[in-house]
């Protein structure tokens, strides 16, 4: 059994308090304790043994093709602006943002566009309301495919962007924001929210740069902080300037010692060389190493104590949160004009001989990286994109690395529960309440579990299922091995579905109305016939012929009939019509009852 620490009082409360008393740097501002949380075995050191490997480089070659989905972010798809067969340069725009919340897409390297409507294989997860780009079965992801030529050429005719000539401090913030938008940057911490939209938030008091990578196995941000601390700190300054935030805080987990040292020296160096007027200097705050203290709302609460209410965004309470990777991407976009074409991804897991952090081009097929890291497919239990607690499993090894893929975990049985073990049915909830104390949002997972199982949407919403961040801490400690997060995701999907388009009940009502209308129509037609005949009877009985007189021609069969005969025939017709009407009415009634 793996050991997951639940007893975190020392870490959360006692250590920070003592360190603050002792005046240790990074602990000077008061922090708040994260409610709940767990401490699983980090397994991070394996992938930090060597420096970040670049692509292309002597160690890692470029892949032969790049697959770039049009939607790697939260928001609408980007629309291709290239055609198949076209040659594109590195950094060239290949898909433009269109619609609400869209971001641009650029070519990571030079090559030939071979397709703009390539359908990706289905990702083997269920729809997750918080991450709409991971579709489960349909619709399929559309992607642009570039066949790389290995030359890595940038457009020779492209002018240097103005921001790389003039320092960013002297540029208006609108231009900076536009540059961020043009670079196609979205949140690289995993959520993928378009950064330009976030940067247009107003009245932000505190900017928090999230360097608290709390999930096991993932070390992308930590490696970035070790090697590119200057870029990160300057990127933070840029973001701070754009949004005009008074304070800027970089939050790092306290057990990332080398990264902390690098950031500290970067802050010191940068402040000396590049002071930003009017705004506070960038501060470093250390947070206890607990999962999930790196979640956006969790980190905000730890650092500032502010708790956004249910449904509020952090910008509504004057805080903004960006990942260190996003800060670095902003820096590169502003100072170098480089759009988002690569990211640092951790390639790790016990099925790999050589776990490493890689600065990989967006769109690289996963197989290329796995091969580089010494992949042993016989040891592979699952391939996860992300960490073992919040990642999603992929079946297809040609899945591309997206802008939001912070880790590729080739997990063997050492790292995760085996597929076989997770295929047996789980036990009933024994109501042991191991789960509630570890929830970082102070939810009661038991109640949510029972509400989700029985699809009691009102009870689930009342107990806060929409505030669940799906961190998986509750499922990680459950002795019955209940896949709690899966139940919550299903329930959330159902709730969203009902909220978005609770149409099936409406359609059922329309259909029943349609059936009723049809039945009524037929009955009404018979009724009209009946009335007509009765009218005729009356007029014949009174000896009048108000309406059309039956024109009896000499040769027609009716001429042989007397008025009496005609009357009798009409009465018979009336009787038939009545009977038919009664039959139809009773059939309509029966249908109504049967449908109840």
């Amino acid at each position: 059994m793996s050991r997951i620490s639940r007893s975190l009082l020392i870490k959360k409360v006692i250590k920070p308090f003592l360190f603050r008393l002792a005046g240790k740097p990074g602990w000077l501002s008061p922090i708040h304790a994260l409610p709940g949380g767990i401490f699983p075995a980090p397994n991070k050191q394996v992938s930090l043994q060597q420096k970040i490997v670049g692509m292309p480089s002597a160690q890692l070659a470029m892949p032969s093709q790049l697959i770039l989905p049009l939607k790697q972010h939260q928001g609408d798809d980007a629309v291709p602006v290239v055609r198949p067969g076209q040659y594109v340069y590195k950094r060239q725009l290949i898909a433009a943002a269109s619609g609400h919340g869209s971001v641009n897409l650029h070519a990571p390297t030079s090559g030939l566009i071979t397709a703009i409507d390539h359908q990706l294989a289905a990702v083997n997860t269920r729809p997750q309301p918080g991450r709409p780009w991971q579709q489960s079965i349909d619709p399929r992801q559309t992607a642009i495919v570039i066949k790389t030529d290995g030359n890595d050429l940038t457009d020779p005719e492209l002018p240097l962007p103005p921001l790389s000539i003039t320092p960013w401090q002297q540029r208006p913030t609108d231009q900076l924001r536009q540059a961020v938008f043009d670079a196609g940057i979205c949140g690289l911490g995993g959520a993928g929210f378009p950064t330009a939209i976030k940067l247009s938030a107003s009245s932000i008091k505190t900017l928090i740069i999230n360097g608290a990578e709390c999930e096991p196995y993932i070390t992308a941000d930590e490696a970035l902080m070790r090697e590119y601390a200057d870029e990160i700190v300057e990127g933070s300054q840029i973001i701070q300037t754009i949004i005009g935030a008074q304070d800027c805080v970089i939050g790092i987990e306290e057990n990332k010692h080398e990264a902390i040292k690098a950031i500290q020296s970067a802050i010191a160096g940068l402040e000396a060389a590049n002071p930003v007027s009017g705004l506070s200097v960038v501060k470093l705050v250390l947070v206890p190493a607990i999962y999930p203290s790196g979640g956006e709302k969790q980190l905000i609460r730890i650092v500032t104590g502010i708790q956004p209410m249910s449904g509020q965004r952090p910008s509504d309470v004057g805080v903004l949160c960006h990942s260190v990777a996003t800060a670095r991407a902003v820096f590169k976009a502003i100072t170098d004009g480089e759009p988002l074409i690569s990211r640092v991804t951790t390639v790790t897991g016990s099925a790999l001989r050589n776990p490493v952090n890689v600065e990989v081009l967006i769109g690289t097929p996963v197989s290329h990286l796995l091969q580089f890291a010494g992949f042993d497919s016989s040891a592979l239990e699952r391939l996860l994109v992300g960490g073992p607690l919040m990642g999603y499993a992929v079946d297809d090894l040609e899945t591309p690395v997206l802008k939001t893929s912070n880790c590729l975990l080739a997990a063997s049985q050492q790292d995760i529960q085996s597929v076989e073990a997770s295929s047996i049915p789980h036990r009933d909830c024994i109501r042991c309440d191991f789960c509630a104390p570890v929830c970082p949002v102070k939810l009661q997972p038991q109640t949510l579990y029972f509400s989700s199982r029985h699809q009691r949407h009102d009870s689930a919403v009342k107990n806060g299922i929409l505030d669940c961040i799906e961190c998986g801490a509750c499922a990680a400690v459950c002795p019955s091995h209940i896949p709690l997060v899966a139940y919550y995701r299903d329930e959330k999907a159902l709730i969203h579905e009902e909220a978005d388009c609770g149409e099936s009940s409406r359609w059922q009502a329309l259909f029943e109305k349609h059936q009723q209308r049809q039945a009524d129509n037929v009955v009404a037609v018979q009724q009209r016939k009946l009335e007509k005949l009765q009218h005729k009877l009356v007029s014949i009985a009174e000896g009048e012929n108000p309406g059309k007189e039956p024109v009896v021609e000499s040769g027609s069969p009716v001429s042989h009939k007397s008025a009496e005969q005609i009357k009798r025939e009409i009465e018979a017709a009336v009787a038939r019509t009545r009977a038919r009407k009664a039959e139809l009415l009773s059939k309509a009634d029966a249908n109504k009852d049967g449908g109840q």
Binding site: K71, D77, P139, D490, C501, S505, Q508, L510, F511, R517
Partner: protein, 181 residues
């Protein structure tokens, strides 16, 4: 001694009988099942109500009745995996993948009439199971998008083939974009 043994055995027999009744009536007491089987109405509620007939039955209610009689739960393409999952949960059956011989699960589509080509024959109005098409003989027909279930039944009757099924952009989900037709 014999008396005690007899009394104990009798008690045990009564208790076991009680237990057997409880187990058998479990589903009834939970309100899920009637003694005759799962209520057709609760199955019908789970189905998407598109009334398209792709399952092979004439609408959702006949399919619900068939499911109650033992039909497979994976014949509904508009419902897709979501519906299969809900049916499996409702009826305590194992999930199975969608039987694509009845059709693929596609994102929601609505019918759109190309008005320049419509001849006003009302054939589509008669075909629509939810009366989502507004029109009259020799007058323009149009589809009320909000009421359209995407069932596709109007496309075939149209003699001039002027009805398209177009995807509706659903909030938050990516869809197949239709390039200019």
């Amino acid at each position: 001694m014999i008396n005690i043994l007899g009394a104990v055995l009798l008690t045990v027999a009564l208790l076991l009988g009680f237990l057997w009744c409880m187990v058998r009536l479990q589903g009834v007491i939970a309100g899920r099942n009637t003694l005759a089987g799962p209520a057709v109405e609760s199955i019908n509620k789970v189905l998407p109500q598109t009334q398209c007939g792709q399952c092979g039955y004439a609408g959702c209610l006949p399919y619900a009745q068939a499911i109650a009689a033992g039909e497979n739960i994976n014949r509904c393409p508009p419902g897709g995996t979501q519906t299969i999952r809900r049916l499996a949960k409702l009826l305590d059956l194992p999930e199975m993948p969608l039987d694509v011989s009845h059709g693929w699960h596609l994102p929601k589509r609505v019918a759109v009439i190309r008005e320049t080509e419509c001849i006003g024959c009302t054939k589509c109005i008669q075909a629509c199971p939810v009366d989502a098409i507004v029109g009259a003989p020799k007058l323009m027909h149009t589809v009320i998008t909000a009421d359209c279930t995407g069932c596709d039944l109007c496309v075939d009757p149209c003699p001039v083939d002027c009805i398209d099924m177009l995807p509706l952009a659903v909030q938050g989900l990516s869809t197949i974009r239709v390039v200019n037709a």
